[in-house]
């Protein structure tokens, strides 16, 4: 039959069907990113004229103490929070997978924080961590772990600890669900084979469970790395970037340069650096996944 006429009719329908999304993509994703790239080569304070400066914004970035320390904060946060969130998520998933009753109660309580907004979780933790009145210090004191009040938000290291704790609490449920789904997908025959070989619990975990989760582990690490690099809400809302700018991040730099001092070109250059970093992480992930699958 006339497949040719069919596919010809298909042409128009196909194009019409992707058209509405294409308009959104072009107007709110593609054009903005291209325009952002363009203005990153200009000196533009929003009120004044645009002056072409070539790569000056980018070279200034290298010398910008504030940007450098914000970038460093972001990298350190990523290096600590990614293993923590992924590791704890995996441990929780293994724990829940091995119990027969009460699984759904556990799933609900671990996942619940994830549905709350960053504003709610930040405010809860700020109040939770208050010295003297907050519950957290009281719990630590009750367990005998501390003997004097801890002022979580007034010292840089502790402020980061607070941001990391609240981030783990908020997001680990997502990772936990992914790992749990991965665990449930491992065929029972794998474990039976292990039993026949006489593998103990540890060997079973190391030689059967972990390798079967490698794909999902890489996915989790990449998703977490990208998300961690974009951290802003928690540091804006829990510590306000403080004390003394110690918890400011890369997105904080975009926000302050763009919308407080209105240096549009400079802020765009920062945004591009952020995008490049994320691009590199995604490319490494694709590469590793390919090697893993072959």
């Amino acid at each position: 039959m006339g497949t040719k006429s069919l596919s010809h009719q298909g042409w128009i329908t196909g194009i019409l069907m992707i058209l509405p999304y294409t308009i959104f993509f072009a107007l709110f994703s593609l054009f903005p990113i291209l325009y952002g790239l363009r203005i990153s080569f200009y000196d533009w304070s929003l009120l004044g004229d645009k002056v072409f400066v070539g790569f000056e914004n980018y070279t200034n970035l290298i010398q910008d103490e504030e940007f450098r320390s914000n970038l460093l904060h972001t990298i350190v946060f990523t290096l600590i929070s990614v293993p923590l969130v992924s590791g704890i998520g995996l441990l929780l998933a293994i724990l829940v997978h091995s119990i027969r009753r009460g699984q759904s109660f556990f799933r609900i309580s671990v996942f619940m924080p994830y549905v709350l907004s960053v504003s709610v979780i930040s405010s809860i933790w700020v109040i939770f961590l208050q010295p003297y009145t907050g519950l957290f210090n009281q719990i630590l004191r009750g367990l005998g772990l501390i003997h004097e009040e801890i002022f979580w938000l007034s010292e840089p290291t502790l402020a980061w600890a607070a941001i990391i704790m609240s981030t783990v609490w908020w997001t680990v449920g997502f990772v936990f669900i992914l790992f749990l789904a991965g665990l449930q997908d491992i065929p029972a025959s794998f474990y039976e084979a292990g039993q026949i070989e006489g593998a103990n619990r540890w060997q079973t975990f190391w030689y059967i469970t972990l390798p079967s989760l490698s794909r999902i582990t890489i996915l989790v690490i990449v998703l977490q790395t990208i998300a961690s690099f974009k951290i802003f809400g928690q540091s804006k809302l829990i510590t306000g970037g403080g004390p003394a700018g110690a918890t400011k991040t890369v997105v904080f730099s975009i926000y302050e340069n763009g919308f407080q001092t209105f240096q549009m070109g400079y802020a765009s250059a920062i945004a591009f650096v952020l995008m490049l970093v994320i691009l590199v992480i995604s490319l490494i992930q694709t590469f590793v996944l390919r090697r893993l699958e072959s």
Binding site: Q9, F24, F111, S117, S119, L219, K230, K236
Partner: protein, 270 residues
């Protein structure tokens, strides 16, 4: 014997951890029912609604939630319609440029929203949309993730499903909405949940776009309200509870579908 001890040990650890995860939320609720300055424990677990009355009379919490609901629902509906339509075309129709467009959208996955803040601000300002709820919806629809999730799902549906309908003379468009949409309900639900949570929780773009209190979403309005209560805990916590409880109720009702949806889309992302 050892196995049973081990099993009970694991269960006790699991229950302890589950409760530990709930503590901050329980603390939030406990503080919200305790008048400022009183101790939660001293109050003898009597529920006081005085904080709720105060917060509701001082901040348009319900108005903000209405804005959030409006923005999130419209975003989600648009994402579902536009992505499933495009995903269907990519999965089933051969047309010139389809490979190129698909790759173009795929590359869009690498554009983080944070990288488009500055140009979006400038565009919205020029178009007179800055500060409107529309400005929150439009960029959220441009994310390409839905297309990939749904295309993968559609690719997995057997071809003979639509062949009978095609032979009967149904057009591609009709096959999409009368066969594919009903069949892909689980995938659509998963994507819908993802879009909804994303739109509801968005913070940085509303922070930049919206300055009028009347158009704020709850995620944006909440910290603004709380910032005027520096050394008080009862009213800020009550505001948190007001913002969180509806979300938690929806979560508890649909928790099975939501968790399944996260496992489904999360595992397919990227």
């Amino acid at each position: 014997m050892m196995d049973r001890i081990y099993y009970y040990f694991i269960r006790i650890v699991a229950v302890a951890l589950a409760i530990f995860f709930l503590i901050p939320v329980i603390w939030m609720l406990a503080l919200s029912f305790t008048p400022e300055g009183q101790s939660v424990f001293a109050n003898g677990f009597q529920l006081s609604f005085v904080n709720y009355q105060k917060v509701l009379s001082q901040a348009p919490i319900f108005g903000w939630m209405g804005n959030s609901l409006m923005v999130s629902v419209i975003t989600t509906v648009l994402v579902l319609i536009l992505s499933s339509m495009a995903a269907y075309a990519f999965s089933r129709i051969q047309f010139p440029g389809s490979k190129f467009m698909f790759l173009l959208f795929l590359s869009g996955l690498m554009i983080p929203a944070e990288a488009t803040l500055i140009p979006l601000y400038l565009f919205m300002r020029d178009w007179g949309l800055l500060g409107t709820r529309t400005s929150l919806i439009l960029p959220a629809v441009a994310g390409p993730m839905g297309i990939f999730i749904l295309k993968q799902f559609f690719d997995g549906l057997p071809k003979d499903l639509e062949e009978a309908a095609r032979i009967d003379g149904a057009g591609f468009f009709k096959v999409w909405y009368s066969i594919f949409l009903p069949l892909s309900r689980p995938a659509l639900a998963a994507l819908g949940i993802f879009s909804f949570i994303g739109a509801w929780n968005d913070y940085v773009w509303p922070l930049i776009s919206i300055s009028d209190k009347a158009y704020m979403t709850i995620t944006l309005g909440l910290p603004m309200f709380q910032s005027s209560y520096v050394q008080q805990y009862a009213l800020p916590m009550t505001a948190n509870a007001l913002a969180a409880v509806p979300v938690l109720i929806v979560f508890l009702i649909f928790q099975k579908q939501i968790i399944k949806g996260i496992a489904f889309t999360g595992g397919k992302e990227l």
